[in-house]
Amino acid sequence: MKPIIEISKVRKAFGTVEALKGVSCDIAEGEVVCILGPSGSGKSTLLRCINQLERPTSGIVRVGGEIIGYREQANHLYALSNRQLAAQRSKIGMVFQQFNLFPHMTVLENVIEGPVRVKKELRAASIQSALQFLERVGLADKANAYPSQLSGGQQQRVAIARALAMKPSVMLFDEPTSALDPELVGEVLLVMKELARSGLTMVIVTHEIAFAREAANRIIFMDGGAIVEAGKTGDLLGNPKNPRTREFLAAVRH
């Protein structure tokens, strides 16, 4: 099966610190991949390189066959204009650790902002489909609330609906439950499991091993800016080969 995300030899340096040391991996369409690893291992940076919130220092990322951030012509890569890059990003959904809902807009306005402003869809039609997405995350009744009136778990579910409303080909989740109170984690994971079952391609940076075991097809373990081990969920969690993976899993299982 042709991969929908191809990451090849991606390096990212922040000053003298190398956050990614040449990472390559492919993710197939419909696959749910969890990226695990200790903090500072570069997993969030890798995720942010996929939609170019971080521009890789070298290496390329293809999504749906298109190189992100560049136009390819006769062995040359020409940097895209902001507008063209924005168009590429509109097909890649992202959910952030801190939700990042637009606080001056209602829940409904948050969800229709992309379809109306970016895809130039009609407002009425956008509202229709936005309400369906809100229904899907269980928050149709909060359409007219402001984010400040919602709990963290509800805000994150709205953020998922906002990303889904763009009908992205892949969804990136950057530690979606790390900023949540423990009792609110479940509701967000429940929504994500439902999405995983629906066949959406998902790349999830997370610390929730139990969730990864249940929802992920494949696990990538990162440490020190590199992929240390990758494999089928059952194999990697049940029988990790690399000592660092074993160490990490032993530590988080307590």
């Binding site: 924005a86 952030f96 895809k119």
Partner: protein, 285 residues
């Protein structure tokens, strides 16, 4: 002493503390106000003349001209300030230093001096020429209104830049990233996401600056712009009713600024609307 011996709350009479200091202060304030009011009543002001000129046609035209100048100046100032604030935040060092230089020059020269320089620009450049298009004498272009607009607008822009900049910086990076992640361009996220949120921080100081500008426009009287003080002076040069005309001006300024303050309150409430119902309301000081 057993528990039954204690009085219940109903059996007590609560005696409030007496704030002697406050009573004294109030008495002093009333006394002082009385003295001041009496001084102005028995002083050499013909209040009837004040009333007579309050709605004088030239005075009304003057306050309207003050308002017109203020509005145009603030529009020019804010547009400049937004541009310069974005330049100051740019990654390009030339844009950044240009922004700094502009702010330095126009904040360090007194506003009255800038006004006089713009008005007398014809002394340096007698003709303004756009090659092959037009050539006019500078005095024709730099009317008192245009000179005042340029002087105040450009100087105001230099001050407002800091206000806009702090407003833009108050919006978290995550907001720009979220906007980018749904495919918005930077300019889209600026208009839809960043500026609407920055307004909460921008409006209060911008309101202050607008109120300040209403009063600064009075300086334009020195270059013969027909704002309210110029009108008042024209009248008192003929009639000799100096203090009466100044009181008329004071009344109009206070009225206009009172109205502006109320408008500012409404605008602030509008931009704070999304925080209603949240625990993060402002503390009651």
């Amino acid at each position: 002493m057993s528990k039954n011996d204690l009085n219940t709350p109903d059996e007590y009479v609560f005696v409030r503390k007496i704030h002697y200091g406050r009573y004294l202060a109030v008495a002093l304030i009333i006394l002082l106000l009385g003295i001041i009011v009496r001084a102005f009543v028995v002083g050499k002001i013909a209040w009837a003349v004040v009333g007579e000129y309050l709605f004088d046609r030239d005075i009304m035209a003057g306050i309207v001209n003050s308002m017109i100048l203020t509005v145009f100046v603030m529009v020019v100032g804010v547009m400049l300030a937004v541009t310069v604030a974005l330049m100051a935040g740019s990654k390009n060092p030339v844009l950044r230093y240009t922004a700094r230089g502009y702010m330095f020059v126009f904040r360090s020269v007194p506003i009255l001096l800038q006004l006089l320089i713009w008005y007398n620009l014809a002394l340096i450049f007698p003709q303004i020429t756009i090659p092959f298009v037009v050539s006019v004498s500078t005095t024709q272009v730099l009317t008192p209104f245009v000179a005042a607009l340029l002087a105040f607008g450009i100087a105001q822009g230099a001050y407002t830049t800091e206000v806009i900049r702090s407003g833009l910086l108050s919006v978290g990076r995550g907001q720009v990233e979220a906007a980018a992640s749904i495919g918005m361009t930077y300019s889209q996220s600026l208009y839809r996401i960043i500026i609407p949120q920055a307004m909460r921080v921008i409006v209060p100081p911008l309101g202050n600056e607008t109120i300040g500008m209403v009063k600064y426009t009075s300086l334009a009287s020195v270059i013969q712009y027909r704002e309210i003080i110029y009108s008042a002076q024209s009248i008192y040069f003929a009639s000799g009713r100096v203090i009466e005309m100044l009181m008329v001006c004071a009344f109009w300024y206070a009225l206009v600024i009172g109205i502006l303050s109320i408008v500012q309150g409404y605008i602030e409430r509008y931009y704070n609307r999304s925080s209603r119902g949240s625990a993060a309301g402002e503390a009651d000081l």
